[in-house]
């Protein structure tokens, strides 16, 4: 009964001129999203050192889904050479991500333009 999570990869250019990989999510971000999200993440090449997660196509996120994002941030931090940013959250989920502390480990931006401007 969960809407399957779709993850689409695309690239963009940051204000600084460097390449950025965007993982755009659609559907639900819940416990059932784990494989889709982690497979997309593990499929990123080693050169993808700037990653943005696009939540603008997502309308339901629960705490198990946020835990998957934390898992990803943990792996990125362990790698020591990859920054992960987040954009496209609704104001409500922006608040929720901040409440649980995700904002400490991922730069949160309102939209893609703002996210790219900061990289």
């Amino acid at each position: 009964m969960q809407a399957a999570t779709k993850v689409t990869e695309r690239t963009a250019t940051a204000a600084s001129g460097s390449g950025v990989t965007i993982l755009a999510f659609a559907g639900d971000i819940a416990s059932t999203s784990k494989d889709a999200i982690m497979e997309a993440y593990h499929g990123l090449g080693p050169s993808a050192d700037k990653v943005l997660l696009d939540f603008s196509g997502v309308d339901y996120i629960n705490s198990s889904g946020i835990a998957i994002i934390i898992q990803m941030l943990l792996e990125a931090s362990k790698s020591g050479q990859r920054s992960v940013g987040i954009f496209g959250l609704t104001p409500h989920f922006n608040k929720v991500f901040t409440m649980v502390g995700v904002a400490k480990y991922a730069t949160m931006s309102a939209d893609e333009a703002a996210a790219l401007a900061g990289l």
Partner: protein
């Protein structure tokens, strides 16, 4: 709308159905005049409470259902989410993102924290099996602050 009006929902113990409860609660809160912001808070709180009832309380057992009672009170909306488990006492400590990022704490374990953070009252009651519930309240007077 009359004080004491009550809507009851029964859900199967299957993940995903928390979204049905969330829609019911959102609709009732909107009718009562809660702002969209508060309705969003309630949606997440009700979803997390139902997920816990489905997963931890009823342990995904097909034969058990989760009960959600939505009641209007003098000054707000009270929600009880009931399951057939043994219940849980107080909410655990707030998630510690630094420890999670060190791999020292499970990345999960944020549901009860979010519930408490998003509604005006949250209380967990351990009961005899089938009578464990969490009680959530959002108040209309908070709207005007």
């Amino acid at each position: 709308m009359k004080n004491g009006s009550c809507v009851e929902v029964r859900l199967p113990s299957e993940l995903g159905f928390e979204k049905v409860a969330l829609s019911t609660a959102a609709s009732m809160a909107s009718l009562m005049g809660f702002s969209n912001d508060r309705v969003e808070d309630l949606k997440t709180a009700v979803a997390e409470a139902c997920i816990n009832a489905i997963e931890h309380g009823n342990q995904l057992d097909d034969s058990l259902s989760v009960g959600v009672m939505l009641s209007t009170t003098d000054d707000g909306l009270e929600v009880r989410v009931m399951d057939d488990g043994l219940g849980v006492g107080e909410a655990p400590a707030a998630p510690d993102m630094d420890r999670k990022m060190m791999g020292e704490e499970d990345p999960r374990g944020m549901g009860m924290f979010l519930i408490q953070a998003l509604v005006d009252e949250a209380e967990w009651h351990k009961g005899p099996p089938g009578r464990s519930f969490v009680r959530l309240v959002i108040r209309l007077d908070k709207e005007n602050k």
